[in-house]
């Protein structure tokens, strides 16, 4: 094992372990905070893989925005702060079987397929300069389409979460079931 492999293995252990904590912890807020640890470890993994721009975007958007959004969701649904007993549904053993089967198949196939694939890590693949030039030269059409999609999603989220528009009066009869 070389140095980057050791660092990546440690970061991978942290990411997978905190991911397991996300799906097994009994406290909702702790799940969101373990998600921060998992995303941070993955950002470190991107740095080891020389994808530095993706690593910083991961830190900015996932750790900075998505987790805060999830915490706001936990707060607005008035989740209990302490331990709650019924966070797992009744089919958790079936889910565990499915997840173990998925892990077995994927790990077996990937290890068999890429056992000998070796990647030399040089520091010029993930720099912001080449990535930005590639986005705005080759991939500019998907970029623009994605910006329109993001705008539509934000407008949709605003429309969904406002309560003063849409069917107004529940007593008038035609307001129910319209949404």
């Amino acid at each position: 094992m070389t140095g980057p492999e050791v660092v990546f293995t440690l970061l991978g252990v942290v990411a997978v372990g905190s991911g397991i904590m996300v799906v097994t912890t009994r406290q909702l807020v702790h799940a969101a905070l373990w998600l921060v640890v998992s995303f941070g470890a993955l950002a470190g993994g991107y740095l080891v893989l020389t994808a530095e721009f993706v690593a910083w975007v991961q830190v900015l958007i996932y750790v900075g925005a998505v987790v805060v959004l999830l915490l706001f969701g936990i707060m607005l649904t008035r989740a209990p702060i302490g331990e709650s007993e019924d966070l797992d549904s009744g089919n958790r053993w079936v889910a565990l079987g499915v997840a173990l089967a998925t892990a077995g198949v994927l790990v077996t196939v990937l290890v068999m397929g890429f056992r000998d694939a070796y990647t030399p890590l040089k520091g010029d693949q993930g720099a912001a300069e080449g990535l930005g030039a590639s986005i705005f030269r080759t991939w500019v059409l998907p970029f623009e389409v994605l910006s329109v999609l993001l705008l539509a999603a934000l407008v949709g989220a605003i429309v969904l979460s406002r309560s003063d528009i849409g069917p107004q009066d529940p007593a008038s009869g035609n307001g129910k079931g319209n949404r």
Binding site: G12, L28, L87, V107, G156, A171
Partner: protein, 126 residues
């Protein structure tokens, strides 16, 4: 670096996300598990982009696009979850069985979006 390391880590993260989506009851925890699965895909994309040394940076650009789509997805998903909470007073995905075919299993009478619950929800939110 051998390519097996990021591939195995991403496969394990994806399996954890599958378990979370199937086993969790709270809708926000299901959204968190979906985020874990998307991150596994991102790690795979970055690893293979670095491995093939793509001159167009296709994998990393697609990773950025996936991150943006995940942000949009979690925004819309949380808006829908909040709407469900405003109407039903709970967000347990295995008890939201109004669209199920039998409609009998685990659907208590108090969870119907009848006029009283809606009225109370709108009064309390205004």
């Amino acid at each position: 670096m051998h390519l097996a390391y990021p591939a195995v880590v991403s496969a394990l993260l994806f399996s954890i996300g599958v378990y979370g989506v199937l086993a969790r009851r709270n809708a926000i925890l299901v959204l968190m598990s979906v985020e874990l699965m998307l991150n596994a895909v991102n790690l795979n994309l970055v690893a293979f982009d670095v491995h093939w040394r793509d001159r167009l940076h296709g994998g990393q650009v697609l990773t950025l696009f996936t991150i943006v789509i995940a942000a949009a997805e979690v925004g819309l998903g949380l808006a829908i979850v909040l709407l469900v909470y405003r109407n039903r007073r709970m967000i347990d995905v295995d008890r939201l069985r109004t669209l199920a075919e039998d409609g009998t299993n685990g659907n208590a009478a108090g969870e119907r979006p009848d006029a009283d619950a809606r009225h109370g929800a709108e009064v309390s939110s205004s």
